[in-house]
Amino acid sequence: MAAPRLFRPTARLFSSRLASTALRSNLRQTACAPSIYRRGYATENGTKEVTVRDALNEALAEELELNQKTFILGEEVAQYNGAYKVTRGLLDRFGPKRVIDTPITEAGFCGLAVGAALAGLHPICEFMTFNFAMQAIDQIINSAAKTHYMSGGIQPCNVTFRGPNGFAAGVAAQHSQDYSAWYGSIPGLKVVSPWSSEDAKGLLKAAIRDPNPVVVLENELMYGQSFPMSEAAQKNDFVLPIGKAKIERPGKDLTIVSLSRCVGQSLTAAAELKQKYGVDAEVINLRSVKPLDVETIIASLKKTGRIMVVESGYPMFGVSSEILALSMEYGFDYLTAPAVRVTGAEVPTPYAAGLEGMAFPQEDTIVTQAAKLLRL
C-alpha cells in the first residue's frame, strides 16, 4: 500500500515552500502582499501568463457583470479585497450590495447565501478557507444539497461555495484539511477542484452558472502561480464543463490521476520518470470531483494497464479510494499491477515545516511509488 499512512521522510521539501511563505495566512488576519497582483504578458500566439488568483478574480468579475442575480459574500471579501485578494477590486466595481463583508459567522453568512439562492438569486459564498466551512456544513449539506430534491424540485439552489481547500504552508491541522471527499460524497452537490489558471477561470464560471449548488475547492498554494492562458480562455464566455477531466500529459505506461495542486507535482514526477527510467506516464487532471469523469480514467487505464492516484487528502475513504474502487469495478481485467494511491498521511497535519512536508505526497514520493508499481 503506497498511501503514506505514516510519515514519509522526504529528500527535499516541495519547491514552492519559499514562494508560498509570502502567501502564508495569519488565520483571520491574513497578510497578503498586494504586490502579488499582477497582470501577465501577451505572447505571439495570443496566450498570456496569468496567476490562478487573477483567473479567479476575472471569473468573478465577468459573472458579476453578466448576471445581475449574482453577488459575493464572505469574511473580508469587500473592503479588504479578500483574505487572499481573490475578490480584489470587486467592491469598487460592483458596490456594497453585491460584494458583501459579513460578520465572522460561517453558519450565518452561509445560511444567508443558501436562503438567497432558495429565493432565486445566485450567490457566491466565499469561505476564508474550507476548514472554517465546517461551522456551516449543515447549511451546505442538509439545506443546499437536499432542498431541491426534498421540495419536489420546486426550490432552486443556485449557490456557489468557494475558497481555499487543503493544506497551505505552516498553518497546522485545523487549517490544512482537504474536503474533496467530504463534499464529493453528497448527492445534490457538484464539486470541482481547479489546478491551473484556465481550470480556475473555466470551472468557477461554470460553477456560478450551474443551477445546482457547486463547491469550488481552490488551493492557497496555487493562488500565486502563473500559467499560460489561451486566447479562448481570456474571453468572457470561457466555461469548462463540470464532470470532464483533462489529460495534461499523454503516456502509455502508467496512468496517474490527480487533482488540484498534486497535478503539478504529478507532472514533474512524470517528467522525472521519463528522464530516469524512460517511462511515459499519462497524467489526468480530474478538474471535477463530482461528477467524476470515470470514462476518461478507465479509457486511460485500459491503455496503460496501471493506475496510481495522487491526492493530498487522507488515505481512508478518500477520492483516491473511490477511484481505485472504480478501477476495480470497470477496469479490473485491464490491470496488470495492483492499483495504488499516494495520499496525505493519516495524521492531523503538523505545524513544523519538516513534519508538514512529510505528511503530504512530494514529487519524489510519486516517483518512488511509480517505480515500485512499475517494478523498475
Binding site: 457583470e65 453578466l66 448576471n67 445581475q68 442575480k69 453577488f71 469587500a78 473592503q79 456594497p96 450590495k97 458583501i100 463583508d101 459579513t102 460578520p103 459567522t105 453558519a107 450565518g108 453568512f109 452561509c110 445560511g111 444567508l112 447565501a113 443558501v114 436562503g115 438567497a116 439562492a117 432558495l118 429565493a119 432565486g120 438569486l121 445566485h122 450567490p123 461551522q135 449543515d138 447549511q139 442538509n142 439545506s143 432542498t147 431541491h148 430534491y149 426534498m150 421540495s151 419536489g152 424540485g153 420546486i154 426550490q155 432552486p156 443556485n158 448527492p187 445534490g188 457538484k190 452558472r209 450551474d210 443551477p211 445546482n212 461528477p291
Partner: protein, 470 residues
C-alpha cells in the same frame, strides 16, 4: 454598507432607536476620542458614558419585558378605551375557522398515526393563534420560512385540506413528490424562470424571485433562520430593482427551543448587519421537546436576545390572536422602513400537545398542568368567547362547523390515502436540476429488473406503473 448607531433610550422601553449613516466609504464615518469627553468613542461602543461607579449589569435587576395583549382570557378588550381591532367580522370568523380546522385535523391525524396509517405527525394545539394571527398580517407575496408547527400559517395562506393530506400521505398530488417527512409542507406558485433553462441572466433582466412563497420545511432545527435572512436580502435587492412592485418581507417562524441553536444567533446578527426585511417570530411554547424553558435559558426569554442584536423587539400574548396580528402588522411595517431591517416577535403560549407523535409528554409534565392550560387559556377558546360576546358565534354554529370540518377532513384523508403514490422516476429526479447520465442508467436498469420479474413487484400503487420510469 450602512452603519448603525445604537442609542439606548431607556431600560424600561426595551427599544433601541436607530440612526443610520450611509457612508460611501466606511472610513468616512471613523471616529476618534475627543479630549475631555464624558463618553466613550471607541469603535465598538460609540455612545457609552464614562462612569466612576463600578457596577455589573444584572439581568435579574432589569424588569421583564412586558407582554402585549389586546384581549383578555374572557374574550374582552383589556383596554376598553382603545378602538376595537381593525379587522372585519368576516376576517375574524375566517381566522377562527382556520384555527378550528387545524385543530380538528390535528386530532384526526394524531389518531391516524397511532393507527399506523402514517409514520409521523405534529399537532399545533395551543399555538394556532400565533400562526393564524401572524399569517393574516402578511401579503400573498411575502415569503415564509416555517419550522414544523405552523400548519395555521399554511391554512391561513390558502393551503387546502387536500394539500395537507396529499403531503401527509406522500401521494402523487404532493408537491414534495413524497420525499419529505409528514408535516414538512411546502407551497409553491409557478416559477417565473426555470433555472434549468434560463439560469443565466443578463444585466438588463429584471430580478424576479421564483414565486415560491412558502419554503419547504426542513428538519434540522434553526437552519431556516439564516436562510430567511438571505431570502429577505434577496427580496430587498429584487424590490430595489423594481420599485413599482409592492415591497415584500420574509416571515420566519421557530420555537424557543430552536433559539438555542447557533444558527439563531448567527441569523439575527447577520440580518441586523445586512438590514434584511425579515420578521422573526418565536413561538415560545414552554418546552423544547421535554426540556422546560427554565432549563433552556437564564435570560428574559428570547425577546431580550433581540435587543442585544440591536433588533426592534416585542413580546406578545400568543393566545391573543388580535395582539399577534397587530404586532405582526406593525412588525411588517417596521421591517420595510429605513430601507429594511429585522424585527423580532416573541409570542408566548403553552404547548398543549405532545411534541410530536414520537413523544409522550406526560413522562415529564403533569397531566393536570396540561388540562389546566387547555381549560384556562387557549387561543381558540379565547377567540370563541370574543366572537360570542360580539354575537357572531354560538354553540349551534360551533357544533355544525366542527362536524362539517371533521367530515371534510375524513373525506380528504380517505381520498389521499387511496390516491396513487408518486411515479417511480421521482425517486431519481431532482437530485440535480437535470437528471444525470448515471441516474438514467439506474432508471433503465430498474426498469429492466421490473420487466424481467413482473410477478415480484406490484407497481399498481405507483402513478403510471412501469411507464413512470420513462
Amino acid at each position: 454598507m450602512s452603519l448603525k448607531i445604537l442609542t439606548r433610550s431607556g431600560l424600561r422601553s426595551h427599544h433601541l432607536t436607530t440612526a443610520r449613516i450611509a457612508p460611501a466609504r466606511r472610513w468616512s464615518s471613523s471616529i476618534s476620542q475627543r479630549p475631555g469627553s464624558d463618553s466613550v468613542r471607541f469603535p465598538g461602543a460609540v455612545n457609552s458614558k464614562f462612569t466612576t461607579q463600578m457596577s455589573f449589569l444584572k439581568a435579574s435587576d432589569l424588569p421583564a419585558i412586558p407582554t402585549y395583549r389586546v384581549m383578555d382570557s374572557d374574550g374582552e378588550m383589556v383596554d376598553k378605551t382603545r378602538p376595537a381591532p381593525d379587522v372585519t367580522d368576516e376576517e375574524v370568523l375566517t381566522w377562527y375557522k382556520n384555527m378550528l380546522s387545524v385543530s380538528v385535523m390535528d386530532v384526526v391525524m394524531f389518531e391516524a398515526q397511532r393507527q399506523g396509517r402514517l409514520s409521523f405527525y405534529m399537532v399545533s394545539a395551543g399555538e394556532e393563534g400565533i400562526t393564524v394571527g401572524s399569517a393574516a398580517a402578511l401579503t400573498q407575496d411575502d415569503v415564509v420560512f416555517a419550522q414544523y408547527r405552523e400548519a395555521g400559517v399554511f391554512q391561513q395562506r390558502g393551503f387546502t385540506l387536500k394539500n395537507f393530506m396529499s403531503q401527509l400521505f406522500a401521494n402523487c398530488n404532493d408537491t414534495g413528490k413524497g420525499r419529505n417527512m409528514p408535516v414538512h409542507y411546502g407551497q409553491n406558485y409557478p416559477r417565473m424562470v426555470s433555472p434549468s433553462t434560463h439560469h443565466y441572466g443578463t444585466a438588463n433582466e429584471e430580478l424576479e424571485a421564483d414565486k415560491t412563497t412558502q419554503h419547504t420545511i426542513s428538519s434540522p432545527l434553526a437552519t431556516q433562520i439564516p436562510q430567511a435572512a438571505g431570502a429577505a436580502y434577496a427580496l430587498k435587492l429584487q424590490d430595489l430593482q423594481n420599485p413599482n412592485r409592492d415591497p415584500r418581507i420574509v416571515a420566519c417562524y421557530f420555537g424557543e427551543g430552536a433559539a438555542s441553536e447557533g444558527d439563531f444567533h448567527a441569523a439575527l446578527n447577520i440580518a441586523a448587519t445586512r438590514s434584511c426585511p425579515v420578521v422573526f417570530i418565536c413561538r415560545n411554547n414552554g418546552y423544547a421537546i421535554s426540556t422546560p424553558t427554565l432549563e433552556q435559558y437564564r435570560g428574559d426569554g428570547i425577546a431580550s436576545r433581540g435587543v442585544g442584536y440591536g433588533i426592534d423587539t416585542i413580546r406578545v400574548d400568543g393566545n391573543d390572536v388580535f395582539a399577534v396580528n397587530e404586532a405582526m402588522k406593525e412588525a411588517r411595517r417596521l421591517a420595510l422602513s429605513e430601507g429594511g431591517k429585522p424585527v423580532l416577535i416573541e409570542a408566548m403560549s403553552y404547548r398543549v400537545s405532545h411534541h410530536s407523535t414520537s413523544d409522550d409528554s406526560f413522562a415529564y409534565r403533569a397531566r393536570v398542568e396540561v388540562e389546566d392550560w387547555k381549560r384556562r387559556d387557549n387561543p381558540i377558546i379565547r377567540l370563541r368567547k370574543w366572537l360570542e360576546n360580539q354575537g357572531l358565534w354560538n354553540e349551534e354554529l360551533e357544533k355544525t362547523t366542527r362536524d362539517e370540518m371533521r367530515k371534510a377532513v375524513l373525506k380528504e384523508f380517505g381520498d389521499a390515502e387511496r390516491q396513487q403514490k408518486p411515479s417511480l422516476k421521482e425517486a431519481f429526479a431532482d437530485v440535480y436540476e437535470e437528471i444525470t447520465e448515471e441516474q438514467r442508467e439506474q432508471m433503465a436498469e430498474l426498469k429492466r429488473i421490473l420487466e424481467t420479474y413482473p410477478d415480484e413487484y406490484d407497481l399498481r400503487p405507483y402513478k403510471d406503473g412501469i411507464k413512470g420510469l420513462d
